[in-house]
C-alpha cells in the first residue's frame, strides 16, 4: 500500500471512530479508552494493544486527524516516561499477560510510569546499583534507595532495576520489574532542584513486596532490559520538525528585535552563531527523522542530544545577557512539585538553570561522548577493572 493510501485509510478510520464517539460530549477517559480499543492509540503497536502494526510514521496522520477534531487527548505530556520508555520496554520484554495488563492504562494516562534506575551510588555507572531484591516463593522483597526519580510523586507504576545476585559480576546479577508505586514500603520524598521546585524525588524502598508476575524479562536479564529502556530514552525526537526559531533561540531572536538599545557587537556575533547552530540542528533532526522513516537509522541520534544540551545552555546563557537588568530577577523560588518538566514555559532565568540539567539527565554529555566514540566511531572502550569481578567485591 502506498503511503498516501495508508494515510487515507487511517483518516477514514478516525472519521468513522469520531462519528461513534462525539469528542464534544464523550467523557475524556471513556474517549481515550475507546480510541485504544479501536487500534488508533499508537498505530505502530500490535493489533489488540492499541495499534495496527503499521509503520511508525503513520501515527502523525492519526494524531493530526484527532487534533483537528478537537478530540480529548491522553495527556501525553504527563506521561512522557511511560509512553516513551516504559511502553517500548513492556512491548519488547514483557510477557503477553503484562502487555495486556499494563499497556492500555499506560497509554490512556491512568497509569503514570516513572523510572527507578539511578541510585546514590549508581548514576552514569548504572550497573553498579545496590537495591536488593530477594526471592520469597512467588514474590520478591525489595530494599534500597533510588534517586533523581522524575515524576515519582505522580506515578502509579515504575520501571525498577534491582540486584538479585551480588556474587555475579555487576551486569549479570540484575533483574527488572514493573513495580506498583502504591505498594506498602514505597516512600517518595521530593528532591528540590536548582530551579527551586522538585521535578524529581528520592524513593525509598523498604520491604516492598513485588509479585513475580511483575518481573519483566528473566531473572538476571535486568541489564539487557534496562539497556533497551535507555535506548528509547536517547531518541530525543518529536514527530515533526519545530518551525524555524521554534526552540529556545526564538526567545532570543525576539528579544533582539524588540530591544535595539541592548544590542552590542559581541552579543550580535554570539546570537548569529547560536541562531545558525540552532537552525542547523533543527535540520539535522529532520534529516534523522527522514532516515528513520526510510528505515535507514543512522547513528546520528546519539549526537542529537549532545547538540541539544549544549545549545540550550548557550542560548539560555545569552538570553540572560540580552535581558539587561531583568536578567537579575527570577520568577519564583517557591518549592512545588510540577506534573511535568517544562523547559520553555517559564522565564529566562528558569531556562538558564533548567538547561543545566540537560547535559546530565538521560546520560551525561561525557557518557554520550563515550558512546559516540565507542559505538559510532569504533574507538577502543575505556579500560575497566569492574567487568568480571563479583559485584560485591568492587571498590566503592
Amino acid at each position: 500500500m502506498s503511503e498516501a493510501d495508508l494515510a487515507e485509510g487511517l483518516r477514514a478510520q478516525v472519521r468513522e471512530f469520531l462519528s461513534q464517539h462525539d469528542p464534544a460530549t464523550t467523557e475524556r477517559l471513556e474517549f481515550v479508552r475507546a480510541r485504544f480499543d479501536a487500534g488508533l492509540a499508537w498505530v505502530h503497536y500490535p493489533v489488540g494493544l492499541g495499534g495496527q502494526g503499521l509503520p511508525r510514521i503513520a501515527q502523525k496522520v492519526v494524531d493530526a486527524e484527532f487534533a483537528a477534531a478537537g478530540a480529548p487527548t491522553n495527556r501525553p505530556e504527563r506521561n512522557g516516561i511511560g509512553l516513551g520508555m516504559a511502553a517500548p520496554t513492556i512491548l519488547a520484554f514483557g510477557d503477553d499477560e503484562q502487555r495486556a495488563r499494563w499497556l492500555k492504562p499506560l497509554w490512556t494516562g491512568e497509569d503514570i510510569w516513572c523510572q527507578l534506575f539511578s541510585e546514590p551510588g549508581a548514576g552514569s555507572d548504572l550497573a553498579n546499583l545496590a537495591t536488593r531484591a530477594v526471592r520469597d516463593g512467588d514474590h520478591w522483597v525489595v530494599n534500597g534507595q533510588k534517586v533523581w526519580t522524575s515524576s515519582a510523586h505522580i506515578a502509579s507504576r515504575a520501571m525498577l532495576v534491582t540486584r538479585t545476585d551480588p556474587d555475579l559480576p555487576k551486569h549479570k546479577g540484575l533483574t527488572y520489574f514493573g513495580v506498583d508505586m502504591t505498594s506498602p514500603g514505597v516512600e517518595v520524598r521530593p528532591l528540590r532542584q536548582a530551579t527551586g521546585e522538585a521535578e524529581f524525588n528520592e524513593v525509598f524502598l523498604t520491604d516492598v513486596v513485588i509479585p513475580d508476575t511483575d518481573r519483566i524479562g528473566e531473572v538476571g536479564q535486568g541489564w539487557q532490559v534496562a539497556t533497551g529502556t535507555l535506548m528509547n530514552e536517547r531518541v530525543a525526537l518529536g514527530a515533526f520538525a519545530l518551525p524555524r526559531e521554534g526552540g529556545m533561540i526564538g526567545f532570543s531572536a525576539k528579544t533582539w528585535r524588540e530591544h535595539p538599545e541592548r544590542r552590542t557587537a559581541g552579543l550580535h556575533d554570539r546570537l548569529l552563531r547560536l541562531w545558525a547552530a540552532a537552525e542547523v540542528s533543527r535540520l539535522a533532526g529532520e534529516r534523522l527523522r527522514q532516515q528513520l522513516a526510510a528505515g535507514q537509522p543512522g547513528p546520528e541520534g546519539s549526537g542529537a542530544k549532545l547538540v541539544y544540551a549544549r545549545l540550550n545552555q548557550e542560548i539560555a546563557d545569552l538570553q540572560l545577557e540580552l535581558l539587561g537588568g531583568d536578567g537579575l530577577r527570577y520568577s519564583d523560588w517557591t518549592m512545588h512539585r510540577p506534573d511535568s518538566a517544562d523547559f520553555y514555559g517559564r522565564d529566562s532565568g528558569y531556562r538558564y538553570l533548567r538547561s543545566k540539567g540537560n547535559s546530565i539527565e538521560g546520560g551525561t554529555s561525557e557518557i554520550l561522548r563515550n558512546i559516540v566514540a565507542e559505538r559510532v566511531l569504533g574507538l577502543p572502550p575505556e579500560i575497566r577493572l569492574d567487568k568480571d569481578k563479583p559485584w560485591k567485591d568492587l571498590p566503592r
Partner: protein
C-alpha cells in the same frame, strides 16, 4: 532523563499546526546520488591517492587534467547541471553536491567547482547554448574571472574595463583591459568568463589562450586548487550578457559556488576524520592505542557531531538550490558558515591528533588543512555569511 523525550512528546501535538509551515526537503541521499558517489569515489580512490595529490602540487601542472577528463566525460560530472537539451545530464545541485563531497574527501585537484558549477551556473543564467554544449561534453572547461575571495552577496568590483576598439576592429567588437587577482580554476580553463565595467557593464567571454591574456600561477596557500592572476591587455571578447542580467548571472554563480564549496568542505571534514580515526586506532603509546585515551575520544565525538551538523546544512543548501526554493539565500549562508568552520576544525584536528607525523610534508594532513582554510576564506568567510544571515532573518547588527 527522559525530560528530553518528554519535551518532545509535549511539543508533538502543538507542532501539528506548525508542521505545514516547517516542511523541509529531503535531506538524505537518494539511491541515484549514492550510485553517483560510488562512481566518483572509485575513480578518485585510484587516481587521486594522497601521494599522487601531494606529488602534483610540486609539478608545473598542479591541476590533474587527465583525471578531470575522466570525471567530466566518463562519469559525466561536467554536465550534471546542464539540461539534456544542451547535452548535459539534466541533474541538479543535489547530485553536484555529492560530487563535491567526494572531491573534498580526496582534496582532488580538478576544476569541478570552477567550471562545472560556477562558470556553468553563469552560462545557464545567460543562456549561452554553444558553450554549455562544449562544457557538458567535458572537452573544455571555463572559469568565472573573479577573485576566489569574492563574497556571493556582494557584487565583485570589476577590475577589468572595456577598452576602446582597435583601429582595424569591426563595429561591435569588444576589447577588455585590466587584471583579476586570485582566480580559482582559471589555470586549466579554456575559457574565461569576465565581468567588466564600461558601457555596457557586462559579462564577456575570452579564450584563455587569446592574444593579450596573461595567466600567472599564484603560489597559493592551497596548491590543490592553485589560483591564477589574470592580466588582459586589449583582449578581444564576446559579450555574453549585459546590465542587470549580467549582474544576476555573477551573483547566481557565486551563490552556487558557495553552496557547492560547502559540500566540498563537508567531504573534506569527513575524510580527515576517517583518516585520523584509523590512525589513532593503530598508533600505540603507553602500551595502548592513543585512540583509547578519553581526552581524544571526546574530541573525536565532538568532531563527528560537527560533521553531522555540517551534513544537514549542506544537504539543505543543495536541496534548496535544486528546487529553486525561496529559502535558498538563508540555506547557502548557513551551509557555508557551518561547513567552513567544520572543515577548518577537521584540518586542525587532523594534524594535532597525528602528532609529529601529521606535521610532515609527506603526510596529507597539511593538504587537508590548507584546502580547508583556503576554502573557508573563499566565496565568503563564515563571518560574512553570518552577516548575510543577519540581514536575511531580521537580526540587525548593533
Amino acid at each position: 532523563m527522559t525530560e528530553v523525550t518528554r519535551a518532545a512528546d509535549v511539543t508533538e501535538q502543538a507542532e501539528d499546526a506548525a508542521a505545514a509551515r516547517s516542511r523541509l526537503p529531503d535531506l538524505t541521499y537518494t539511491e541515484a546520488e549514492t550510485d553517483l558517489r560510488s562512481a566518483v569515489r572509485s575513480v578518485l580512490e585510484e587516481r587521486a591517492t594522497a601521494a599522487a595529490v601531494l606529488a602534483r602540487t610540486e609539478t608545473p601542472d598542479t591541476y590533474d587534467i587527465g583525471l578531470w577528463r575522466t570525471l567530466a566525460s566518463q562519469v559525466g560530472c561536467a554536465g550534471l547541471l546542464i539540461p539534456e537539451a544542451h547535452g548535459g545530464a539534466g541533474a541538479s545541485f543535489r547530485e553536484a553536491a555529492v560530487v563535491c563531497e567526494e572531491i573534498g574527501r580526496a582534496v582532488a585537484p580538478v576544476p569541478f567547482i570552477g567550471s562545472a558549477v560556477i562558470a556553468t551556473a553563469a552560462l545557464l543564467e545567460l543562456g549561452v547554448a554553444d558553450l554549455l554544449g562544449q562544457l557538458a561534453a567535458g572537452a573544455t572547461t571555463a572559469a568565472l574571472a573573479v577573485p576566489f575571495e569574492s563574497v556571493p552577496m556582494v557584487r565583485p568590483e570589476p577590475t577589468v574595463r572595456l577598452a576602446g576598439p582597435g583601429a582595424s576592429d569591426q563595429p561591435g567588437t569588444y576589447r577588455l583591459t585590466g587584471s583579476v587577482k586570485g582566480v580559482a580554476d582559471a589555470l586549466p580553463a579554456d575559457w574565461l568568463i569576465i565581468p567588466a565595467d564600461g558601457v555596457p557593464y557586462g559579462v564577456y567571454l575570452v579564450a584563455a589562450d587569446a592574444e593579450g591574456v596573461r595567466r600567472t600561477p599564484v603560489t597559493s596557500l592551497d596548491m590543490t586548487r592553485q589560483l591564477a592572476d589574470l592580466e588582459l591587455d586589449g583582449v578581444q571578447a564576446r559579450l555574453l550578457g549585459a546590465g542587470p542580467a549580467a549582474e544576476k548571472a555573477v551573483a547566481t554563480a557565486l551563490r552556487a559556488g558557495a553552496a557547492m564549496l560547502a559540500a566540498e568542505q563537508l567531504g573534506l571534514a569527513e575524510r580527515a576524520l576517517d583518516i585520523t580515526l584509523a590512525y589513532v586506532k593503530q598508533r600505540y603509546q603507553f602500551a595502548r592505542p592513543v585512540g583509547s585515551f578519553q581526552a581524544l575520544k571526546h574530541r573525536f565525538a565532538d568532531w563527528w557531531v560537527a560533521v553531522t551538523q555540517a551534513r544537514a546544512a549542506s544537504r539543505y543548501a543543495a536541496a534548496c538550490l535544486a528546487a529553486d526554493d525561496p529559502d535558498m539565500a538563508v540555506a547557502v549562508a548557513l551551509a557555508k558558515s557551518v561547513c567552513s568552520d567544520t572543515a577548518v576544525l577537521a584540518g586542525q584536528e587532523m594534524i594535532q591528533l597525528h602528532g609529529g607525523i601529521g606535521f610532515t610534508w609527506e603526510h596529507p594532513a597539511h593538504l587537508y588543512l590548507k584546502r580547508a582554510k583556503s576554502s573557508a576564506l573563499a566565496l565568503g568567510t563564515a563571518d560574512r555569511h553570518r552577516a548575510a544571515l543577519a540581514a536575511l532573518v531580521n537580526l540587525p547588527p548593533a
